[in-house]
């Protein structure tokens, strides 16, 4: 009678020796990509932003932020200013130099929702003079 050979079952195992290497690689990735946001002295809190539905995501590396506070103080590069007249071209000049450094620049407005539109209109006129025409109005996503 023929002898039936019993097949030997191999033990299955998952190698876990390199698990910590993988974990440390992931750890390094998150450590490098993390940016801790620094709070500034002049700040328009997120809950003061307007609420909107059709918002887009804008990569931060091409943006510059202009803060417009309720008292119409305008903040660009941490320098507070107010636009008193049309001859006041400080913001336009600052934006012109930013535009020459990065032609793709997007100007983001972080404005208190109760600000009077006049202040925004004055800033936008300066943007047009500086030919920085792509703007984004920061808003909270409507739930």
């Amino acid at each position: 009678m023929a002898k039936i050979k019993q097949t030997k079952k191999r033990e299955a195992f998952i190698p876990t020796g390199s698990m910590s290497d993988i974990a440390f690689l992931l750890l390094l990735f998150f450590m490098v990509s993390t940016v801790f946001v620094q709070e500034k002295k002049f700040w328009v809190e997120r809950d003061r932003w307007p609420v909107a539905q059709s918002i887009e995501r804008i990569p931060r590396n091409n943006t510059t932020t202009i803060y417009v506070m309720k008292n119409e103080t305008i903040l660009l590069d941490d320098v507070p200013t107010k636009i008193e007249s049309e001859e006041d071209v400080m913001i336009a000049n600052a934006l012109r130099s930013k535009k020459s450094e990065n032609p793709e620049i997007v100007v983001c407005f972080r404005t208190d929702r109760e600000t009077k539109y006049g202040a925004m209109s004055d800033v936008m006129r300066q943007l047009q003079n500086a030919e920085t025409l792509v703007v984004a109005f920061e808003a909270q996503k409507r739930q």
Binding site: F24, M31, T63, E131
Partner: protein, 141 residues
Amino acid sequence: MKVGRKRKGKAEIPTSSMSDIAFLLIIFFMATTKFDVKEGIKLVLPAAAPESAQQAETIQLGDDKMTRLQITADGSIAINKDGARKIDNAELDSIIQQKLRVNDQMIFKVITDREAQYNEMIRVVDRLKAQKAEKISLSTN
């Protein structure tokens, strides 16, 4: 006399919990990482007219090509030649849809009073964007 030789114990650093520590750190960084993006309503402003273009060509646009949305200081909205009144989001949506049905390339000119709240302008622009209006112009009086 027999001198007993001391057995040297092997020095070892336990590494079996290393991956646990690493995963805990990963979870911390995953939870605290905020990818560097901003969120907002994007618009392209029209270029300023050069001073030499004083005698720029003026084009008359009828109601079938352009809709004027005039926001007053108290947040009321006047559409074209109609009187200003409070319009909620749902009604604004239906008005915009109606205008886009007439002409899908309709230009919406949002004229905001200097004393009006910024929030009101954003509300109108947001509704226009939500209804896929492509030609939006901002202005003030």
